[in-house]
Symmetry: C2
Subunit: 458 residues, 2 copies
């Protein structure tokens, strides 16, 4: 306790770490959140973003990608005092609404016991809230249209391209370089050249394409408080509600299926066959326009270890652990990186080098775990959600959760509605599987014994 008093002041700023010049590469959700946290800890922050300031760039109505905010993201936002502001414009989603091929729907609530839910938030809006909050700090400086071209992590020197037309280069230095530059991180690229850096990137054979269910008479065309899913084995479609009462629809399927759809006629046939109830909602004309407007996008999973380089650089968010989007945890995990890192930074007698090393130690296995879970959930969402065995397990989990809310938290709930480390969520699920197996064995053997006894008695 006395240690804490010695090194951390009343505002939670760790006095054992002198103010650093911190360069954050990437001004997306994780980068702008990290900037706020560093600033609150008394450091001098320079945030470099390769795009222009999204707050002044053009908004395409109803097309902004939306995200499912859950517990981990909320907690990280609460820490910088922004949770309420974000939730005030978010749309709660209380469960999955499943659409079958005939257009029949059924609902599976995420948490029938305590009514926790996911929140659909617009990526652009959330980013704007974070950037606006950062602007209030005198020790944060934004540098838009600055693309990192090269860096010497050991020396803390960077070179940015800051005007695309004239290839103008700008140099900068920092005590700490923070890579929040996403799946194709230039900071990680630099780190990957050091010996002992483990890394993997794995593309999946499914691509995705965004469509839109527009508002009709200024109303949602489907119940808004659900994450809508059309599970179809090999492929699937999901839809999340937007503030403007449209839905952003994401169609995921193997690239070879995308390639097989070459004409508007083939597209409509395909949609009428698999997603018949969605056709009138999207509208045939808009469907054709959106589908053929752009190519399906790749999806990939990225793991690496370590997340830091000496006491000079660290990776946060997708730069450290990009995942396929099917657990809705990409943003939440990235924001939780901030929660963890800044809690480590506040530990007594911490140095920046020790903080970076500790972050790697504590975070790698959880980051790998959520990457694996996201891959697993892709299978679950497009396939298992339709299966009888999945529904049975879901019911069993829900029942046990209701009776033992502190002991039996189903996997999805522990991931989405708690801050339990991801690797522990998996371990917890494995423990549950073991218990259920044993119960099944006892029930079955009792039944056999009972029938046997009946047979002998008669």
């Amino acid at each position: 306790m006395s240690e804490k008093i010695n090194t951390v002041n009343a505002n939670g700023v760790n006095l054992s770490i002198p103010p650093l010049k911190v360069a954050i590469i990437g001004g997306g959700l994780v980068g702008s959140l990290a900037a706020l946290n560093f600033a609150r800890n008394g450091h001098n922050v320079h945030l470099y973003e390769y795009r222009e300031d999204i707050r002044t760039s053009e908004l395409v109505q109803g097309r902004s990608i939306n995200l499912a905010l859950s517990e981990r993201g909320r907690k990280a936002l609460a820490e910088v005092g922004l949770e309420d502001e974000v939730l005030s414009t978010a749309i709660p989603m209380r469960g999955r609404m499943l659409h079958d091929v005939k257009g029949q729907t059924s609902v599976v609530l995420y948490d029938p016991c305590t009514n926790q839910c996911l929140y659909s938030v617009g990526r652009k809006h959330l980013n704007e809230v974070l950037l606006n909050a950062g602007e209030k700090f005198p020790n944060i400086q934004y540098h838009f249209r600055h693309k990192l071209k090269s860096a010497n992590l050991q020396e803390g020197s960077m070179r940015f391209q800051c005007d695309y037309e004239e290839q103008q280069l700008e140099e900068a230095t920092a005590d700490l370089i923070v890579g929040c530059d996403g799946a194709f991180s230039a900071v990680r690229q630099q780190m990957s050249k050091t010996l002992g850096f483990n890394f993997s990137q794995e593309y999946i054979e499914h691509g995705y394409l965004e469509l839109c269910i527009p508002a009709k008479n200024d109303e949602f065309q489907m119940p808004p408080n659900y994450l809508h899913i059309w599970p179809r084995n090999e492929f699937m479609m999901i839809a999340l509600p937007n503030q403007d009462k449209s839905f952003t629809v994401t169609l995921s399927m193997p690239f070879k299926v995308f390639e097989g759809i070459r004409t508007p006629k083939e597209l409509l046939e395909f949609f009428h066959r698999y997603y018949s109830d969605a056709v009138p909602l999207i509208g045939e004309e808009l469907l054709i326009k959106d589908f053929f407007k752009s190519k399906p996008q790749f999806l990939l999973s990225i793991k690496c270890n370590p997340f830091h380089f000496a006491d000079k650089a660290i990776l946060l968010g997708d730069a450290a652990h990009a995942m396929v989007p099917y657990y809705g945890q990409g943003m939440n995990a990235g924001m939780e990186d901030c929660t963890l890192f800044f809690s480590i930074l506040r530990e007594p007698h911490m140095t920046i080098g020790k903080a970076l090393e500790t972050f790697t130690e504590r975070r790698v296995s959880d980051a790998h775990a959520i990457c694996d879970l996201a891959m697993y959930n892709y299978v679950e969402m497009r396939d298992l959600t339709k299966r009888f065995s999945f529904k049975c397990r879901k019911m069993l989990d829900t029942t046990l959760f209701r009776f033992f809310p502190n002991y039996w938290v189903p996997l999805y709930n522990s991931v989405s509605f708690t801050s339990m480390p991801y690797s522990k969520c998996i371990a917890n699920r494995q423990w549950q599987d073991e218990i259920l197996k044993k119960i099944m064995f006892i029930v079955l053997s009792s039944a056999v014994l009972f029938i046997g006894a009946l047979y002998i008695v008669h």
Copy 2:
């Protein structure tokens, strides 16, 4: 048959592929072998190597790294007419000679049935043989001291740094770029930026360091016709014979164990404890000198997919699949890449684009399999070889192999002494495991029944 006559001439050159300008990056074993093959197929080859010509560079006696040449490498050398020349100076190794902590040795032959063996060859010598053979082709040009700095694979353009002091740059173009530039391949680095390129690099926690058992009175100090192994659970040491009657010794152990040995005294204590019989052979003075001369080296495993980029570039050898060195298959697998690729190139009506794509299709799973096997064998060599169960299995395998040489080829033998695809070697082993489990079950139940019967009779 008529197809073959139409497109492949009497020398096996595929007439459906016009002569290409081929740039091979890397003049090591795989690069120089690939150059020979391309040249024999009528293409114009430019081989770029970042080091100087090893044939004119200084040789350090007894320190050249040696390699275990086996069936796949031999076959690839035979195809370019160099097998006999290479084998004439190679040293056959008929089995493993195991050294226990007390210095007692025992022998496990690789192939007691048909006497196949591994051949210890010097990397430098083999590379020289290949480069000399290439020099005879008017359509091969060597460019030493050319380091690839950047490449545009799509356009087939490359930029080389060809004088280190003056940073002189040279530009070149090619129809096909062949990356034979090893584990840290610059060509792969370029390829990895394309969407859909799967990649992983995994460092192991063990490093290695090379020592030397010099010749004594111009004689080998240990029996030369074995691969000597000192298995010690967490760490191990191996030694391969050299032409000059020395042995190159490779010490592998966790970095933390290396770090724990800081003084000559600690080193000698460590060696007397674990490798007592090797100390007088190496000599205390040389041991201390070699051990502290350089830092232990990292070992890593690299997998990727695909191995090609459009009809413009391909990766062969370590650039495509670097592995830990514990199956002695790194070079053999790289050379086998050439065997496979050039056999595809000779198929009727082949185009270069189709050949590259086919190579990826046929090679990826086998390359991944041998990377996995190499990792597995690391455990086997330093741990299992000492175990009773390993020796039993080895005996059982040998016995079955002797009686059914066409049906029961043990894993190590199928990898080292056949050209069976690596993934099939693993599948074959799994099939053998299943059979042995069943046999064990039958034997055990028969024994139980027999004892039970005896008990009832008495």
